[in-house]
Amino acid sequence: MVKFNRFTLDNGLRVIVHEDKTTPMAVLNILYDVGARDEDPEQTGFAHLFEHLMFGGSVNIPSYDEPLQRVGGENNAFTSNDITNYYITLPAVNIETAFWLESDRMLSLAFSEKSLEVQRNVVMEEFKQRYLNQPYGDVWLKLRPLAYKVHPYRWATIGKELKHIEEAQIDDVKAFFKKHYNPQNAIMVVGGDVDTEQVKVLAEKWFGSIPAGQKYHRDLPQEPVQTEARRQVVSARVPLNGLYIAFHMPGRTDEEYYTTDLISDLLSRGNSSRLYRTLVKDKQLFSEIHAYTTESIDAGMLVIDGKPVSGVSIEGAEAAIWEELEKLKNEIVEANELTKVKNKTESTMMFSEMSLLDKAMNLAFFELLGDAELLNLETSRYLAITPQHVQRQARHLFRKQNSSTLIYLAE
């Protein structure tokens, strides 16, 4: 149970306070409601590049990192297809420094040409390091456009290609900031050894005078229902064949999201899971296999990826996966097995409450979904799922015409 207080400033900034007196630290987390899905298809990778530029100095503060480090703080950020999230952890006695820094860059950036030039290079190196210079590193650059034809989830957060990053201009950066970075499009969570009244005063002091800006109205093209199986075979300089199957699944707020998530747990969470036990241990067809969901806000993907043992044909490996999926469709899952994945979910939720930063990020994310209180209802939503739900959802998910299969053949 994560307790919190909540208020909204006149300019629309939503603020959540989680008091946790067990730590001498504080967290200030700001989620901006913008991700790679909000990008122009001709300028992909921009939300993430922009995240880098947020550290290049703001209108009144030339260096973001230095004053924070000076008061014993640390920070980082991440961009996903859905959101951009920034966080600071620092000794709670110095919390005002975090307000000062975050409010100034919400007010305005410095928009330095040098920073843009350097960060373009840094991000291009990140692109190479994580996506191009690794075996199977480009899987998301291939799997996303195979599964999505219309929705902007068809490109990865890093962008479609290096060229899009190379061509980013300072005017694009300014326009992006104006559109997405303002109080109305942000959720701030302050947690740790803080008081709600103190946070109210500081929030008003530092954020209250920032102009509300325009509210961004998201109107994304939704992905039409897939009607036939898709398949792509690539031959690549990888040591082993690789197999990826993506299934469309419901978005984050859908009831069936939870069922789908539990299905991925039944398939691959822990050494007792079905795919691991059957395909890695018993039949010895794969050296590794995983199933997971992309946890996307809009309709996402459940992905199964595995590396067949050398000598096993791709067709044989694929058929063996489908055999397991058919079992979920045809046979009701036993109560014990369902209890097992529910217990795992319950303990994961409890362990995540050990981390102040996790709690702060989660509160911001659930507030974005509609209500921070939803965080405290998560476990109960998993616990409510029945074997019948599982079967019905498995039948809905695991159809050939809902699948996109990507195969790497080792050269």
């Binding site: 014993g72 640390e74 000062w100 840094v122 050296s287 097992k340 050990m354």
Partner: protein, 424 residues
Amino acid sequence: MLNRTITPQSKAIEHIKLIAPGFIQLENNCNFYWLNSGEQELVRIEWIFNNLRFNPEKPLLNIAVNTMLNDGTSKMSAAQIADAIDYYGAFLQVDYGFDHSQVTLYCLNKHLKHALPVVRDILTDSVFPEKELNTFIRNQQQKLRVSLQKNDFMARRVFNKSLFDGTMYGIAPELDDYAQLQRADMLAYFKQMYQPDNCTLIAAGKIDDDILKEITSCFGKSWENNSVPDISQPGFKETEQLFNYIEKPDALQSAIRLGTKLINRAHPDFPALQVVNTILGGYFGSRLMANIREDKGYTYGIGSGMASMRTTGSIFIATEVGADVTRNAMNEIEKEINIIKTELISEEELSLVKNYMLGSLLGSLENVFSHADKFKNVHFSGLELDYYDRYTEAIRTVTAKDVLRLADQYLNFDQFQKVIVGKY
């Protein structure tokens, strides 16, 4: 009117308080430490064993034995072990390390009585079934084949081998080494290593008398020793070759790793040397990051780190840079090392690093698990928790001249091992 150009007032970090563990030596000589704190009804328990003497002829024995601990006992199959652990929402992890290898259990208190006997069974009666061993060998070989294509993996492997050849620290297994694994060797290794005499048991979480009792009754008297483990270690094979270049003609980036053997945590210079390391490459604002990422844009990240092992330590710098700028990056790294050895650091930069390091220590104490981790750091270096008092004192009092002296004494670029995988 709010003046946004002025930094808010800040305070220095005062005393940092660590949770001291409770301790009992169990009747079988197992040393049991526990740290009780936190609101959640859960616990993390670690069984930590000293590695046996490393045998270069059979380099994978320790890793294979540790990794296969949950693959079957005479009473339970791998599948039954997995069922038992997963059913109670627990997490059972096995990890091997340079000096120690361990089993970790994460569990809600309400399920602990079901999970502990499984761990007990694993630690006393693992049998490494032949079929599971074959699966292990095949899967590990496949994983290794993937890893060998990653430049950063290759750089780390060659670097460690160059510094620490002939020991666990320098292990660089080949595909064939997996095929050599024999079940009989593993059983003998297991029997000697995983016994209470050789075990440090550390529990952290919400631990009341009932939980303590559950742990001690399961791992106390009835868990018996069978022999005296040989935990001595061989020395390093020294090498003359300081530069290793592995060419990858199609590489988009080169992985660079360089560094040297160094003092470990038990040495009085260690905390102050950590200040030197932090200035050089130990945080986001470090000189290497500021120069090679934030000024030149050669890389997504570059950092330096210090490792402290039982008999030695090391300092290393690691990065992956655009293949076309590998030489430039190496030059800049050398330049930064020379600067820290020859130019007095400004008070402004030094005070920033000190504050950053103290804040970072405070921030690293997030929950009771982190307190247990801090305890392990000192305990396995033969130190007490008061090390952290000396550490904070050393950081507060280190001077610009000390930084210069320590950098000059310990960092000699010409003597560094250097590994490049990619293009040069």
